[in-house]
């Protein structure tokens, strides 16, 4: 009896505490509180405010690094996540930000697929229509599709040793028939039309297919040359001799009017500020990172994907027709000698 009474008291005490606690909770919820996390965030905000003010006329910075394709890089911790849609979203975000008066696009790319490059160019033109000045800054290289994007900008700034150009179109197909014969793999292909398996890697290309693809390449090439000619105000007849796929150093590109000035990324930012009539040192706004999207894409890429046979044999499913340079040899040719090589 004693035990029961004692336990009853304890339970009543606890129930009363819960009731009082809930009443206090309602009172506390109405009162604004600053948690340790908030205090930390506000400290960081104050610390970084001098580097990245949130208000006032600013210059937006977008980075296009690596091959330009719609296939996005899947790393969760990548410093420069890639993917045309990411670039488009970043430019759009800056276009819709009223405090951004100019956008600098830092390019370090060997080029990419035709569709993705043209979509990025379209977004740049939308930003220009919205009254933003768009400046391209070439880091190591802006080849082919990279240069296509740069040519859509109002100005192009490159380092003297930056590599650019490689205006042209390429389709690469492999003929692995002999390899498959050796290892004993035979493909059974049922197709609705003669050219349905054009660019197939299990057989050689026919002359007719070669002509079809060459026509396709020349059509895309024409689009490329026209875009550069319009973007850079260079007559086509003057541009064509330069548009045979050759690459240029920054200095050579300046001589051939393919870029506007020599300079670093900082120079490009200053030029953007000058064109946008921003007084003083411009503040930089980078598009916000989307950690949750990045996390879920990472999870999806790691656990949700079953590669097809084509993926395993031919790699990712990007368009075969590309504004892209074969940079392996270019990098070797233009690499500065290191001490050990001297």
């Amino acid at each position: 009896m004693k035990k029961s009474f004692f336990m009853l008291l304890i339970l009543l005490l606890c129930i009363a505490s819960v009731v009082v606690g809930i009443m206090l909770l309602r009172k506390e919820s109405a009162r604004p509180r600053m948690s340790a996390l908030d205090r930390l965030a506000s400290t960081f905000e104050r610390r970084f405010a001098k580097f990245e003010p949130r208000r006032g006329p600013s210059v937006g910075l977008v980075r296009i690094f690596g091959a330009i394709t719609f296939t996005e890089s899947q790393g969760m911790f990548e410093a420069y996540p890639r993917g045309a849609l990411r670039t488009i979203r970043a430019i759009r975000q800056l276009r819709e930000n009223p405090s951004v008066k100019a956008i600098v696009i830092e390019i370090n790319s060997p080029g990419g697929t035709v569709g993705s490059v043209q979509e990025i160019c379209h977004e740049i033109k939308m930003a220009q229509k919205a009254g933003k000045k768009v400046i391209a800054s070439v880091a190591d290289m802006a080849f082919s599709g990279g240069y296509y994007i740069a040519s859509a900008c109002d100005k192009i700034v490159a380092n003297p040793g930056s590599l650019t150009g490689s205006i042209g179109v390429i389709i690469v197909g492999a003929d692995l028939q002999k390899l498959f014969d050796i290892i004993g793999i035979k493909f059974n292909v049922l197709k609705s039309g003669e050219h349905k398996d054009i660019l197939a890697y299990w057989r050689d290309m026919t002359d007719e297919e070669r002509n079809l693809l060459q026509t396709l390449v020349m059509d895309c090439y024409q689009q490329f040359v026209t875009a550069v000619s319009e973007g850079r105000n260079i007559p086509i007849e003057k541009l064509l001799p330069l548009a045979d796929g050759r690459i240029f150093s920054g200095t050579q590109a300046l001589d051939n009017q393919l870029i506007d000035s020599l300079g670093t990324l900082d120079d490009a930012i200053n030029l953007a500020a000058e064109l946008a009539e921003i007084k003083g040192k411009p503040s930089i706004i980078r598009p916000t990172i989307e950690p949750f999207e990045r996390f879920f894409k990472f999870i999806d890429a790691k656990f949700g994907k079953t590669p097809s046979l084509k993926d395993m044999v031919m790699g990712e499913c990007d368009s075969p027709i590309q504004y892209r340079a074969n940079i392996g040899s270019a990098q070797a040719a233009f690499a500065y000698p290191t001490n050990s090589q001297q």
């Binding site: 004692f6 606890c14 340790a36």
Partner: protein
């Protein structure tokens, strides 16, 4: 004259009568061995529900009023929702823990009933009802002192609950204290191993990414 609806123990002397729920709860706090015996004989499952509900309410109230409260995230307005979620989490934890303890503790002498073990584990959450009174006691104290006292008390209550679980498994399965301890920490070992595996995978991926960036 004996009633038609008389319970079997109505004619027993007060000392022979089965213990009431309040006495069982009292014993659970001060003499858990007796409580284990009474619970395993009478199996009052409603008591498990009662203890879980009260401890969840107490823990959630304390958690939201504690010195490191997440109230700033608007948790106050979600109190009911958080309590319901916490209730289901606690029940699922008790079921999972009962299954794992049962797996680790069953022996050739005593097979045991996993449902009784669930009841015993649920009643082991009883010290959790003290979270709310403790939080109210430290409510007026200066911030640093309140944090220190509250944290110490919270650790004490968790350890108390943990020890009760060890005693419950030990007495119900009639196994040694060491084996009972092993059975109770087994879920934590499993979760720790899983966490370590995930950490190693993430670390390997991070190193690979950094090497990719550098190279």
């Amino acid at each position: 004259m004996q009633s038609e609806f008389a319970l079997p123990y109505d004619n027993m002397s007060p000392l022979e009568k089965p213990e009431g729920a309040l006495t069982i709860l009292y014993n659970q706090l001060v003499s858990p061995k007796k409580a284990v015996q009474a619970l395993s004989e009478r199996r009052p499952y409603w008591l498990a529900f009662f203890v879980i509900v009260l401890s969840v309410l107490s823990r959630m109230t304390a958690g939201l009023l504690s010195p490191s409260s997440p109230l700033v995230f608007g948790a106050g307005s979600l109190f009911a929702l958080l309590c319901i979620a916490q209730f289901f989490i606690t029940v699922i934890f008790a079921i999972a823990a009962a299954s794992i303890y049962h797996f680790a503790a069953t022996n050739e002498f005593k097979l045991g009933d996993v449902r009784v073990l669930f009841l015993l584990i649920a009643v082991c959450f009883l010290p959790g009802i003290f979270f709310a009174p403790i939080t109210l006691l430290v409510y007026g104290l200066p911030s640093a002192a309140a944090t220190a006292v509250w944290t110490l008390c919270a650790i004490g209550l968790w350890v108390w609950s943990f020890v009760l679980q060890i005693i419950a498994v030990k007495n119900y399965y009639e196994i040694s204290g060491g084996r009972s301890f092993f059975a109770v920490i087994l879920p934590f070992i499993l979760v720790g191993a899983l966490g370590a595996a995930v950490f190693v995978l993430m670390f390997a991926y991070l190193v690979g990414t950094i090497r990719g960036l550098v190279g």
